[in-house]
């Protein structure tokens, strides 16, 4: 009733393959309209990368803005997880007035989002202060 080395190696390989495959199971497949009807107001952005690991893990694909309730700025960023495993990132929107002053806001806090493998998702917020004209999106691991 001795276990042969071949059987043992085979079992280990199968187990390894199962672990590897289960790791891929968190990836997200998606389907969307080939010619989107929506016309987002994309803005050009400036990026400052100080954490290269994070930049290689989660990418900001685009940022678009809108105005809600007449004069309140709404900003939405599209994030993509470039890895096969779920990643949790923290983010925070900060608001800046037309005179360049930072506007403290009650909803200006760090939030956490978990993005599944290869998933693309959006984060958004509304500036509660009508004086907000610019924003800074901060991302941290």
């Amino acid at each position: 009733m001795k276990t042969s080395p071949r059987l043992l190696v085979g079992s280990l390989l199968v187990a390894g393959a199962l672990v590897a495959l289960s790791g891929c199971a968190t990836n997200v497949n998606s389907v969307e309209r080939a010619q989107p009807v929506a016309t987002p107001n994309y803005i050009s952005d400036k990026r400052v990368v100080t954490d290269n690991t994070l930049a290689r893990t989660v990418r900001v694909n685009s940022v678009n803005q809108d105005t809600v309730s007449g004069n309140l700025l709404k900003v939405q960023a599209t994030l993509e997880n470039l890895k096969n495993n779920p990643r949790t990132v923290r983010y925070k929107f900060e608001w800046v007035s037309d005179t360049g002053m930072s506007i403290g806001s009650p909803n200006e806090s760090w939030k956490t989002i978990t993005i599944l493998g290869r998933e693309t998702t959006t984060i958004s917020t509304v500036a509660v202060n009508p004086r907000a004209v610019d924003f800074v999106l901060k991302l941290s691991e």
Partner: protein, 201 residues
């Protein structure tokens, strides 16, 4: 005699760093952190980050809906209705409501009345109004609210394989007082999983 002194010195040399390390462990370490920042303690309950997150999502939804813009006059007058806490947590619901009040007031689109509703009551303002009535003989003018805000916190606990999941649901409704109709509603959830250590008590 010299050997004894050397041994004593050696012992002292060894014990001093050990004592220093242990005294270091006992000293109180206090640091200031951002209440809603990454260093905030994450517990199975609703922490400061969760309150901020829930308030932010509810505010975003309310402002994006444009419901407040449909008030007969601007700014829309809002009264805070009941905030039910159906969780096992003994928390002050103002941790949520105050954040929403502050944000809505900052927009300039909402004026929150404090003379009615179940939220904060401006006692001194009411007394001042009564005093003004007595002095001038004129009835103080009270502005009726256009909307009332009602909220409810719910907790659901699920356990499986030693993992406990607390799902906190934040429900909020905006009601038009003239019609009694709900003009905006939102329901947001925050789920937190915690696992008890296999060793320990």
């Amino acid at each position: 005699m010299t050997t004894l002194r050397f041994k004593t010195a050696l012992l002292a040399g060894v014990l001093a760093p050990v004592a220093f390390v242990f005294s270091g462990c006992q000293s109180a370490q206090v640091r200031n952190v951002d209440a809603s920042g990454p260093q905030a303690l994450n517990t199975a309950g609703i922490n400061s980050q969760d309150w901020s997150n829930a308030a932010d999502q509810l505010i975003n939804s309310l402002l994006t809906s444009g419901a407040l813009d449909r008030a007969p006059s601007q700014p829309a007058v809002l009264a805070i209705d009941r905030v039910l806490n159906n969780t096992q947590l003994n928390v002050d619901t103002d941790l949520l409501i105050k954040k929403i009040r502050v944000a809505l007031t900052q927009t300039g689109k909402v004026a929150i009345t404090n003379t009615m509703g179940l939220g904060e009551r401006a006692v001194v303002a009411s007394e001042a109004a009564e005093l003004d009535e007595m002095t001038t003989g004129k009835k103080a003018k009270v502005i009726a609210p256009h909307f009332t805000l009602y909220a409810k916190l719910i907790q659901q606990v699920d356990r499986l394989n030693g993992v406990t999941q607390n799902t906190y649901t934040f429900q909020m409704s905006l009601i038009n007082v003239k019609t009694g109709l709900t003009v905006w509603e939102e329901d947001r959830e925050i789920a937190k999983q915690s696992k008890k250590s296999a060793v320990g008590w």
